[in-house]
Symmetry: C2
């Protein structure tokens, strides 16, 4: 990925005249992008890695796999939250890890952790670097030196069991690499979060990622069968069977552990045959409440499509402004997307059941095209954020989840907190929302916020983030449905799991990482 | 429940002439039951509860709710494994908790735990007392005194959210009590393990129970939305949303914690409307491998019925011997049962999809009747075990799970270990097996073992259990799919989660239960 924005250079496109017009009208910004810095000109904090430390790490992974060069350090300087991107765009020196270490396998990860624990070096496990919660910030904690442990070389498909539908994947594989290896065997994982193109298998597990096909294939944590984990204290291999009653499920301690309890090096996942058929169907609902009740009816009946999502009025309107007049007619209300994957018979049966339920709940079928368009553009939104940031517009996302009965209230309170906290700063926002992950008992809410930037957009967003985090907790939501805790959501974790829950997590960390080298400042 | 056998007196029936004939033929036993002891005549170890301890506990829960009487102690003397029942039937004094304490609510549980931690009293959390793995044995550990903490008074339905499909239930409710309270609201939990009639909501959670409708409604751990837990260190309330990425899922530490990490006092569960329709369909497969592949096809296609189970040739044959010539024709091969619940449309669509898949996989439809007969008798097997024990026949069950590709090998190795270890003792067993819980990646295997008792049937079974536990682990199974660890499966937990996994569990226990009073000798 490029150092100061999302993705690859080819993904970055200037804003359309239509959007520039909209921004001028709503926020009064000109739409002329600021110049970006050339990465060679960016001053970096000097590496604190001592020659002895370098020698020690080289002994484990080889000289080619320890890097303290400018290019590598800059690319491991943190994740891709809006705050991260604003910090990269700011003048002045950038912080970065003192070195990047690229281990080849589980044993090398173990050895690196042992070395770092002995020599007091903080370790930030690094997958795709797509964290939007400060999960890979180069925090030193109590140590002088911090390394990023980049897992990209652990990239094998080491075991496939087509009968059971499982595959064992290296933690460093990106989404597309994993799907390509699986497709060669006629299989697919079906995990497509917005970060899919860059994020890694280990990262998906460590952050409890959830993809856009979660209605059909489940969250990433649902897919995990086995985990191999390296810690400063030794290795863990967890998950002996599809289900077990052999005590607490320790996998669930490491799924979501965000590199603070150990380094996930290998994941065995539930996979499925590449689908024979995919059916697409878009829907319109008169309003968000009606649409949400329709999604609920479908998922509670057990008729869930593979993809099931609903945009609110604001998001529906703005997406249409971006994509043109979809399907040749103006869509008002709220757009919903469904897709169905599987055998032709399975798709036909499920689609018929869902169609009947969505129609009965007040939906109007819009045909295939809006659903195909959504799928085509589904990984593009982060590029749009960069284009907005470049023209002085703040753009950020956040997400939560709650029960169906609490969805409307949580949505209203989050929207109010954003509107109030940004409005009070003189920058009233546009707030858009969608439901993208559904469960029998509730759903996620994903918010996109756009506002005019102030002179200090970092402080501007931090004020809003504090207000909205508090609003989420007081309205009964979870502080994060699939972005994880990282550094940014840490203030709310005690409210999420209680002070005693935090003590339990600390007790586990003390046992596995007594020196406290693993990802300081994240999670707990 | 009666003190020395399963269930209620009315459930106990003498063996039929047909079964007595079979037993005489196969094992050479006469079929005349031994006399049982009158409970008043059973000598009990004297209660070690001191007057001061009694006063301390009475202060928390009131005088009516601390009992050291013979009747109560005998009924809390342990669970219902075959070893438990053989020990009850043995001559000599019985061990039992020194007192039973019946707290009214979460706060009283907290206070009892605080008192016991301070005064060095071991605490065995007690739900329905149906453990078959020694999970509620009155083990004192390093303490002089042990109490059973019977949760039956925590029996409320404290919150119902019909929109989200959730209900909050007291840990002490039995299965039928919970279903009755829910049915009054038009709801059902759908959790029907063989222990359903006596086991409790808290026990289901603490042991990762799985019911016979798990294909449709999931395992109990899948149903858990929120948990309220009392520990000697304080309370935990876990689970804020249907799904979350807020770090490790700490619920999964307490689901399956078997009273060793805390006492679950309240559980919020996913529930569903009482089904409009239930469809029944039984199937015959020529052999177990064909039947297993058929079940796999159904569950991997996402067409899972509510109930989906398959008996092997031996179990099919013996069940038919018991029930007569089902459906008016002799069934050879392997019997499978499916049921479908939901709206009429949902049932019709699912049933059609499953029927097509099962037929294509070599199944022959047998109509409704065998499926209805199975449902009618599905809680009766433990009574049959008592009748067998009474005539000098050993009868026990055990269960495991593995991936689909490993099912045949695991089944063969478990059967061989049972046959060899009991055969070597001169008591070759009948071994029956079924699949009762299916997942996309694998399934459970549930074994029923019947053999002639030796003079010391406890030692006889312990030899077999050791052999079969080792066989399960070496063949890649889990030591328990839904019976839990208790005391009986503890020897295999290090192989299941690794020595480092055990250290993690101990670290959590030290944090929450520093005095080590909670359920000594169980789990870890």
């Amino acid at each position: 990925m490029v150092w100061d924005a999302w993705g690859i250079p080819a993904g970055h496109k200037p804003l359309s005249a239509q959007i520039r017009g909209l921004l001028a009208q709503v926020f009064g910004v000109s739409g002329d992008p600021v110049a970006r810095r050339d990465e060679g000109d960016v001053p970096l904090r000097a590496s604190a890695l001592t020659p002895a430390q370098r020698d020690g790490l080289v002994e484990v992974v080889g000289a080619d796999n320890v890097s303290a060069d400018h290019h590598d350090r800059l690319r491991h300087a943190g994740g891709k939250s809006t705050l991260d991107l604003l910090r990269r765009r700011a003048e002045g020196p950038q912080d970065a890890p003192d070195a990047i270490v690229f281990p080849a396998d589980h044993e090398q990860v173990l050895a690196v952790l042992a070395y770092c624990a002995e020599h007091g070096i903080a370790v930030v496990p690094f997958g795709g670097g797509t964290s939007v919660v400060g999960g890979v910030d180069p925090v030193r904690g109590e140590f002088d030196t911090v390394i990023a442990l980049d897992l990209r070389r652990i990239d094998g498909l080491t075991e496939v069991d087509p009968v059971s539908g499982t595959a064992t994947l290296g933690a460093g594989l990106t989404g597309p690499q994993a799907e390509e290896l699986l497709a060669a065997q006629g299989l697919s994982l079906g995990h497509f979060p917005q970060s899919f193109e860059f994020a890694s298998i280990g990262g998906f597990a460590a952050t409890r990622s959830s993809g856009q096909a979660s209605a059909g294939y489940g969250r990433f944590d649902d897919m995990v069968q086995r985990l191999k984990i390296a810690t400063p204290t030794g290795s863990l291999e967890l998950g002996r069977a599809p289900a077990s009653a052999a005590g607490p499920d320790l996998r669930e301690l490491f799924v979501g552990s965000e590199g603070a309890l150990g380094v996930i090096t290998e994941v065995t996942l539930r996979v499925h045959p590449l689908p024979e058929t995919t059916a697409y169907q878009a829907w319109s609902f008169p309003d968000f409440a009606t649409g949400a009740a329709a999604l609920r009816a479908v998922v509670q009946a057990g008729a869930a499509p593979t993809v099931l999502r609903l945009s609110d009025e604001a998001e529906t309107g703005l997406n249409l402004a971006r994509s043109g007049d979809i399907g040749g007619r103006a869509v008002t209300g709220c757009l919903a997307i469904t897709t169905f994957e599987g055998s032709a018979e399975h798709v036909a049966a499920r689609s018929a059941e869902a169609t009947a339920l969505l129609t009965a709940a007040g939906g109007t079928a819009l045909g295939e095209q809006p659903a195909r368009e959504w799928e085509h553009g589904r990984f593009a939104a982060p590029y749009m954020r960069d284009a907005l940031l470049d023209v002085g517009v703040l753009c950020e996302t956040l997400e939560t989840a709650t029960t169906w009965s609490n969805i409307a209230e949580l949505k209203a309170k989050v929207t109010a907190a954003l509107t109030d906290s940004l409005g009070a700063q003189g920058t009233p926002p546009l707030v858009m929302c969608h439901i993208s992950h559904t469960y029998p008992t509730g759903a996620s809410l994903y918010f996109t916020i756009v506002a005019k930037q102030l002179d200090d957009p970092i402080a501007q967003w931090q004020i809003a983030k504090r207000a909205v985090g508090d609003a989420i907790m007081s309205a009964g939501g979870t502080i994060t449905h699939h972005h994880a805790v990282g550094a940014d959501h840490r203030p709310w974790l005690p409210a999420e799991v209680g002070e005693l829950g935090i003590r339990v997590l600390r007790a586990v960390k003390r046992e596995l990482d007594p020196a406290g080298i693993l990802n300081p400042g994240k999670l707990i």
